[in-house]
Amino acid sequence: MSISNHVVINLQQIKKIYDMGGAEEVQALRGVSLQIQKNEYVAIMGPSGSGKSTLMNIIGCLDTPSSGLYEFNGVNVSEMNDNQLAKIRNKEIGFVFQTFNLLARSDSLHNVELPLIYAGVTSADRKRLAREALEHVGLGDRGHHKPNELSGGQRQRVAVARALVNRPSILLADEPTGNLDSKTGDEIMVLFEELHSQGNTIILVTHEEYIAEHAHRIIRIRDGMIEIDEIVKNRKKINTA
């Protein structure tokens, strides 16, 4: 298996321009080119207003670039329509958000099941896969709890289970520890570490140096451009003992 040679994400000269009406326009991204390979663990960093959220939205196929080429697993997604993008999001991308974004009225199992429903998986398979995913993140016994009956860390684990249930090509985490205290935040980072070691490709968007240092590679964005793209030499290891 040539894991390291497989390019999952290939961005070439990606630009995103927001038309603010009239002659005014904002260039959120001014030509970003980057490649992410399979089983990489990448952190995207940058202050607010740097364009990192825009970049994350484009990588996550929530938004399309104004110009440039975006290839996902060798497929050009920059000109896909809404339905095609929805399919990519469903099958290839697992989102983990800062605010968890679970459906409040649904229990954990149903939340994890949701991507499978949109993927058209049969009911029996859905139940099994969702349970397995919850067990994977250590919440096998919390299937029938609703989000408000879970702690913040547990909610984020449910969100991770939901992100992984369709076996996506990348896990895209936007400030996953932002709403957690440092201890539970660390637990989530340990979970990410495990997922990475199991072969998952992880893209982490954060503004915290401390969190970014868990990754193997850090891409720093400023003013809509890549400022630095570096390999982390002294990776932060959490004492899991």
Partner: protein
């Protein structure tokens, strides 16, 4: 499979949303409930009136022509008809001889007289003088006994046949056949009792009538009367042809020159049905418009609440889109919710309307046919889909990035 999953998911979400906002759902549904109740009751009432009319109109017989001085439906000034010559009993024999397409012809002369039996009295009974052919010519059915015979008719015998209501009034406990009643002071022996006809044209049915031979009628109650002639169209003959022939015969009897207008009318049940149909169509049109408005208002309520629901759940829509829900899926989800609210409203509406229709039946004949039930369920579903469409479309068009950012 995929579509079934979507339907199921849509239903689950819809049920959950309805349960989560109970009060709101109840109030929203109420609009549809009221709409459906009023529309179904309206439909039921119209259906009931139609049926009652059909039943009543059958008293006239669909194959009987009535030759009269006055038309049933008057297009001209009443005085014009009033000045026509009276119809005469003698016409009957001429018609039976010359009109080949009718096989029973009978005259009727009418008056109101009190009828007595012992201590019991029926005030102003509808006394009809006629011949032995009347029963055939009018298509009425005898329940007990036999109708006046030709000999009794020709000889003006003191015999009579009575309607169901007359029998009930004068003979609450004993068999009327063979009893002698007094009509306007003259004794008559009861030969027959007619089957009850019912319906809304009370005086025209046989129910309140007493039939006596026309000759004794003329002797005892006076002979200067306008006569009504009933003629039954022979089996297998087109009613219009028979009517044309009868008209020709009548014109000859009346010595009308070509070009002169008829000074008589030939009436038939069809005329009533047409007039009645036109009236009910107008009533139905107005009724459905007004009750439809209440359903429309209910639909606006649904639309309003669905807009609120979409705005409230913008974030949820964003989440669903982020993890792979397509536009269609979101559109469908909200459509199902709106349709479900309306369908529940429709079902509740029917459950209220049905007992109400039974109560109304005591006053006015009504009937809730299954077609109205099915139709109203479809209508409520339709209202839900129509009023849910715009909000659902709005939801499906939401940009996932914006929707996720919404707080």
């Amino acid at each position: 499979m995929y579509f079934l999953n979507e339907i199921k998911e849509g239903l689950i979400i819809a049920f959950r949303a309805i349960r989560a906002n109970k009060m709101r759902s109840v109030l929203t549904t109420l609009g549809i409930v009221i709409g459906i109740v009023s529309v179904t009751l309206m439909a039921t009432a119209i259906e009931g009136v139609d049926r009652a009319f059909e039943k009543s109109a059958s008293a006239f017989g669909s194959k009987v022509l009535y030759v009269q001085k006055f038309p049933w439906v008057q297009h001209d000034d009443w005085w014009k008809y009033r000045n026509r010559r009276d119809m005469k009993v003698e016409y009957v024999s001429t018609i039976s001889r010359q009109a080949t397409l009718v096989d029973a012809v009978a005259p009727s002369v009418l008056t109101f007289k009190d009828a007595r039996f012992g201590s019991r009295t029926m005030l102003s009974a509808f006394v009809t003088g006629t011949t032995h052919q009347y029963q055939e010519a009018s298509g009425t059915t005898i329940q007990d006994g036999r109708f006046i015979s030709q000999e009794e008719s020709d000889g003006g015998r003191p015999v009579c046949a009575i309607g169901a209501n007359v029998a009930e009034t004068l003979f609450p406990s004993i068999d009327p056949i063979g009893q002698t009643i007094k009509i306007g002071g003259f004794p008559y022996t009861v030969l027959a009792v007619f089957e009850k006809q019912g319906g809304m044209f009370g005086t025209f049915t046989s129910d309140n009538r007493i039939f006596v031979p026309i000759n004794s009628f003329m002797n005892q109650f006076g002979s200067r009367r306008d006569v009504l002639i009933s003629a039954r169209v022979a089996a297998g003959v087109d009613i219009e042809e028979a009517k044309e022939e009868l008209r020709g015969v009548m014109r000859k009897i009346r010595h009308l020159e070509p070009g002169e207008q008829d000074d008589f009318n030939i009436n038939e049940q069809e005329m009533l049905t047409q007039i009645f149909g036109a009236i009910t169509a107008v009533i139905a049109g107005i009724g459905f418009f007004i009750t439809g408005l209440s359903l429309f208002v209910g639909g606006i309520g649904i639309m309003n609440i669905m807009y609120v629901s979409v705005t409230e759940r913008t974030k949820e829509i964003g989440i669903r889109k982020a993890i792979g829900a397509r536009r269609r899926t979101i559109l469908f989800q909200f459509l199902v919710e709106a349709a479900l609210i309306c369908l529940i409203g429709g079902i509740i509406g029917l459950m209220i309307a049905y007992p109400l229709s039974l109560i109304a039946d005591q006053i006015l004949p009504t009937a809730m046919p299954i077609s109205v039930v099915i139709l109203s369920l479809f209508v409520s579903l339709f209202v839900g889909v129509i009023s849910g469409f715009l909000p659902a479309y709005k939801a499906s068009k939401l940009d996932p990035v914006d929707a996720l950012r919404y707080e």
